[in-house]
């Protein structure tokens, strides 16, 4: 498609504007984290950079403990979700029943319910089963929370694989397990990877359940951030420093896996 120079410039400008708009909060957060608390409440871009907020944050809270919880819970939730959704999506994509479509929509509809609506029952369930403030509890909740999304994504990727290829595998003597391991997973690896990446990011950033179901033992980084917007009032510089430290790992991770993620998400569209 041939575009005029003017329209190309316009598109580039709009693109940059949107990118800046999206990036600005992160930029501001990082900037604020290097200010003193006094500078932090001003909108000034001129200040003396200082690490004092970081030092205070480190002093006040065990960052590595929170970070470890985040890593374990996000990985655990993702692995658990994939463990269920890989076979579930296989069954739905290749052995559909008249109810498959409805089941998929129903699964998605659970994501439309505000989580706070089930907070009390879930809280009580966790209390009775001793899952409150445990990593296991959060892993289970995160896996369940992401299951509809991972099943849907994998279902879409699997749908791209012609049924005949799996049938050829069956003729060649592959069991269901063999079909999955030798044919389907190698063929949809980019899709499975991007599903896992998305789940990882969603788990990392989840705040509602982690704030409500943990206190100290299993609290991940989202709880770590929240602890800095606490009783004494708002301390923007410290809050920013804590937030920067909380988002930094997933930001770096996202940066490196960007290509994979975009490729996976547009898999069907560009094929």
């Amino acid at each position: 498609m041939q575009q005029s120079l003017a329209s190309r410039i316009a598109i580039a400008l709009i693109g940059w504007a949107v990118a800046l708009l999206l990036f600005f909060p992160i930029f501001w957060m990082v900037l604020t984290s290097f200010k003193t608390e006094t500078d932090a409440i001003t909108a000034s871009l001129v200040f003396h950079p200082t690490l004092v907020s970081y030092a205070e944050v480190f002093q006040r809270a065990n960052y590595l403990g929170f970070a470890l919880n985040s890593v374990v819970i996000a990985l655990g939730g993702t692995v658990l979700a994939l463990l269920f959704s890989v076979p579930a999506a296989y069954s739905m994509a290749f052995h559909p029943t008249p109810r498959t479509r409805g089941t998929l929509l129903w699964m998605l509809s659970t994501k439309m319910l505000p989580p706070v609506g089930v907070l009390v029952p879930i809280y009580l369930l966790f209390k009775f089963t001793g899952l409150l403030d445990t990593r296991t509890g959060l892993i289970i909740i995160y896996a369940l929370m992401n299951l509809p999304i991972t099943v849907w994504m994998l279902f879409t990727f699997y749908k791209e694989v012609p049924n005949e290829i799996l049938e050829a595998g069956r003729m060649d003597g592959a069991s269901t397990w063999g079909e999955l391991v030798h044919i389907l997973l190698p063929l949809t690896l980019p899709g499975v990877a991007s599903t896992g990446l998305l789940s990882l990011i969603l788990c990392w950033n989840e705040a509602f359940w982690s704030l409500n179901l943990t206190s100290s033992q299993a609290a991940p980084l989202t709880a770590f951030i929240a602890s800095f917007s606490a009783p004494e009032g708002l301390f923007f510089a410290k809050l920013s420093a804590a937030s920067t430290m909380a988002v930094a790992p997933i930001l770096v991770f996202g940066w490196f896996s960007q290509k994979q993620l975009v490729q996976g998400l547009t898999f069907g569209a560009v094929k």
Binding site: E164, I165, E167, A168, G169, R170, M171, D172, G173, G178
Partner: protein
């Protein structure tokens, strides 16, 4: 050695029955072709034999043993799919050796068998390539190679040539015939292409709407179609069908009157009273222009194919008839023409569409 026996095989999806009771015997080393229009159930029947579709009722036997409950890999069959269904992430060698790998055949033996199949199919230079780097014809050969490597009792082909261009289709058809000769295996082949059916088959099974219309050798189906459906389906251009009524039935055959009023004696037999309405079938290649012909009409369209000429003639009874003539015809549009038919190549069908038995069998048909 492999014989197949289908006994009252049925397939239903809920209340919809798509295979309505198929009985068929397939002999060892036989090349059987299932033909029929789209949706006649030929592919479904093949998939039921393969084990990819459960059999609703009836019994499928391979070498005299019931295999209904066996999985696809345990029936000793190999299938070549219409889309080839190669594994895109594996090389040609891996594609062909996959079944052996799953069967835990030692690597050295696997390699030997893959090389042997590659040699037969002239795929040796491509063993390390992936399917996406191959042409359509090469992919087709890999799909066949994947079947050969397993040394199956029965080969199943599901419209294997329909994704190839015309030249390659002809070439691959010959290749498959050669393979059948070389491997001496039983083969079942599904197609809607009657040229493939006529040239490859020892036995053709014509299917329509989930039922077998006729089973027989290609020439038997051509010369002695059991009914109007088979008569119309086998042979190209299609057999011409004209409504006629019986004048008299004698030892020499049945004399019928054409829509134009002319009389014609067909060497068929049957219990038909004068006045009965029948359908007369005339193959385009059995008609020829003849000043003394019984059929009169006007040429409406001329198709010159070089070696053949097709005349579309509107007869006096306002029926369209196609005539196939060897070589060039000088007849032009709107030219009046009289047509004569080779009496031995005429067919009569009753009101139900069933063929009246011919007085004599064609010399080439047992």
């Amino acid at each position: 050695m492999a014989t197949l026996s289908l006994r009252n095989i049925r397939k239903a999806y809920g209340p919809a029955e798509v295979i309505k009771g198929v009985d068929l015997e397939i002999d060892d080393r036989e090349f059987v072709v299932f033909v029929g229009p789209s949706g006649c159930g030929k592919s479904t029947l093949l998939r039921m034999i393969a084990g990819l579709e459960p059999i609703t009722s009836g019994e499928l036997q391979i070498d005299g043993v019931r295999v209904n409950e066996r999985g696809p890999a345990d029936r000793g069959l190999a299938m070549v799919f219409q889309s080839y269904a190669l594994y895109p992430h594996m090389t040609v060698a891996q594609n062909m050796g996959f079944a052996l790998k799953l069967a835990k055949v030692p690597a050295a033996e696997r390699d030997r068998k893959v090389r042997e199949a590659a040699r037969i199919l002239q795929l040796e230079p491509y063993l390390e390539r992936r399917p996406k780097d191959l042409s359509g014809g090469q992919r087709q050969r890999v799909a066949i190679g994947r079947a050969i490597v397993r040394a199956p009792k029965v080969f199943l082909f599901d419209e294997p040539l329909s994704n190839l261009d015309a030249a390659l289709r002809g070439q691959t058809r010959i290749e498959i015939a050669r393979l059948h000769e070389e491997l001496g295996a039983t083969m079942i082949y599904v197609t809607h292409d009657q040229i493939e059916a006529m040239t490859l088959a020892d036995k053709i099974v014509v299917l329509q709407a989930g039922r077998i219309e006729q089973v027989g050798s290609p020439l038997e189906l051509y010369h002695h179609p059991a009914n109007m459906f088979v008569a119309g389906f086998i042979g190209s251009p299609r057999m011409n069908m004209l409504p006629v009524s019986v004048l008299e039935s004698t030892a020499a055959g049945i004399t019928v009157s054409l829509p134009s009023g002319a009389a014609l004696t067909v060497p068929s037999t049957g219990d038909v009273a004068p006045g009965t309405a029948l359908t007369l079938g005339l193959r385009p290649e059995s008609l020829r222009p003849d000043p003394d012909g019984q059929l009169a009409g006007t040429v409406k369209l001329v198709e010159r194919l070089g070696g053949l000429t097709l005349l579309h003639v509107e007869t006096e009874g306002r029926e369209d008839v196609i005539v196939q003539i060897e070589g060039l015809s000088m007849l032009n549009i709107n030219h009046p023409v009289r047509l004569a038919a080779d009496a031995a190549a005429l067919h009569l069908f009753d009101a139900a569409g069933m063929a009246l038995p011919a007085l004599t069998r064609h010399s080439l048909v047992a």
